[in-house]
Amino acid sequence: MIDVLIYFFSALAAISALYILFTSNILYAAFALVITFLAIAILYILANADFVAATQIMIYVGGIVVVIIFGVMLTNKLVNSAPKSGSHNKFIAFIISGVLFTLLTFAILDMNLGALGVERGNIQSLGYGLMTNYLLPFEMAAILLLLALIGATVIVSQKNVKK
């Protein structure tokens, strides 16, 4: 049962990612991104990572995608025309990513995966880890977020430059 679900949601993630690649409408791409992220979140749940899945939904879908949609809305004329965008370098991109995918697949199939096993992680051990082994990265992440908040505000704020 779980295998079937994994196949289904992987296919969903892959198809919506491909849709982003081939569509020319940015808003459609953003909504397809929502599907990709949700499918990945469900794959996390199937890998017993509930907390990461909830974080993924909350931050990626509830935050990042909405910010991206806001970006689209602020940089395009939306009423009566869909926000379109073209593409270039198609051949090079096809070669590069095709070769990369082939290489990665060979590498993955060549790996010794016997040592790995996915087991249930609970949020107690996650919280404990964040306050012990990962305290420094945790605090750094907090500072990084604060800096990003201030930085983004400073970059977009319109300064009254006297000419």
Partner: protein, 97 residues
């Protein structure tokens, strides 16, 4: 099943890379980068083991950094849009400010 996660991750990474290379719109490029970050996360979570959960910690930090990256990235896109009146990357070709 872990193998399958890895292959999906490789696939999403390649698609993300293709989006970054082919797209003209800066926001599309950001979407591609998000896809690549997610592909990496999928690997981390698939590999995370029971007691230490290192992979899940990494995934959490990647998500946090991705949020910061998007905020700053979009702020820059908006600034660029204010100046050039476009976000098509091939039309933004002068360095003079």
């Amino acid at each position: 099943m872990v193998l399958f996660y890895f292959i999906l991750s490789a696939f999403l990474f390649s698609v993300g890379l293709a989006i970054v290379i082919t797209r003209k719109n800066a926001i599309f490029v950001l979407i591609g980068i998000e896809l690549m970050l997610n592909a990496a996360n999928l690997n981390f979570v698939a590999m995370s083991k029971s007691i230490t959960l290192d992979g899940q910690f990494f995934a959490l930090f990647v998500i946090v950094v991705a949020a910061a990256e998007t905020a700053v990235g979009l702020a820059m896109v908006l600034k660029v849009f204010n100046y050039f009146k476009t976000v098509e990357l091939d039309k933004i070709n002068e360095l003079k400010g």
